[in-house]
Symmetry: C2
Subunit: 147 residues, 2 copies
């Protein structure tokens, strides 16, 4: 299964030159905890991500003004990314290993396709494991010892 089926697609995107206040408005409207950041002066490639945690640690805690601060000055950058070919297992291992909560998924030309969260990945893995257990239960019922 493609990671895009698990991810938030399309990703919410802001420009590196947008204000923190604008980015927070986008995050609230899209009900997401992170937005991808591109830079229209740099052909729109991914520059980083901006997350709820960045709002808390780099804006509120450092006493910056949300209307006077640009996303490029407080975003998380550089960031790890996944491609359409990355498996859910690889993505989860990377995110748990590096303590990432969000992972942007890029297309082959570098375009931003979606945003994956550990929460979505873990939910998906729970469903997948439950399906495997169900089918083993079925197998044991039909063909197993004492079946």
């Amino acid at each position: 299964m493609s990671l895009l089926k698990i991810a938030h697609v399309p990703a919410a995107i802001v420009d590196a030159g947008d204000t923190v206040f604008y980015a927070v408005t986008v995050m609230a409207r899209e009900r997401v905890g992170a937005v991808a950041v591109e830079d229209k002066t740099l052909k729109g490639d991914l520059q980083g991500i901006f997350t709820e945690r960045d709002v808390m640690l780099r804006v509120v805690q450092e006493e910056r003004n949300p209307r006077g601060t640009l996303v490029r000055d407080v975003m998380t950058s550089p960031v790890e990314t996944a491609s359409e070919k990355t498996t859910a297992k690889e993505a989860l291992a990377l995110m748990l290993d590096r303590h990432l909560r969000h992972l942007p998924i890029l297309g082959s030309a570098g375009q931003i396709l979606g945003m994956l969260s550990t929460r979505n990945l873990l939910s998906n893995k729970v469903e997948d494991l439950e399906r495997q257990l169900d089918s083993m239960d079925q197998f044991l019922l039909n063909d197993g010892p004492g079946g």
Copy 2:
């Protein structure tokens, strides 16, 4: 297994009369996305929780000053809670149903024991399901058809 083994214990706690700026400092130091809120003028019972999302939506988006705003004015309240007797399954069902990311765990006297996150619950469930699958695999290898 007690929910307390999965939760963040002890919970990070602030007072309803603390400032948002102070609460964010606690969240940063404890590396958590939510703190429990008690009120020392009300015998220390749980008043609500204050989360990264509250920082984003009720402080930054509503243009409040973090040093001039009290937690009681922007916290999430009332909140659902769990007890030590709540099972992981019950907690996860409640949190997914109500779209909660954090759930405080209270002792029988109402004291705040820990803070559960959907992420911790899902990680725990993945581990649990993987153990079940492993033991079914072992069973099939040792006793199952063709074993």
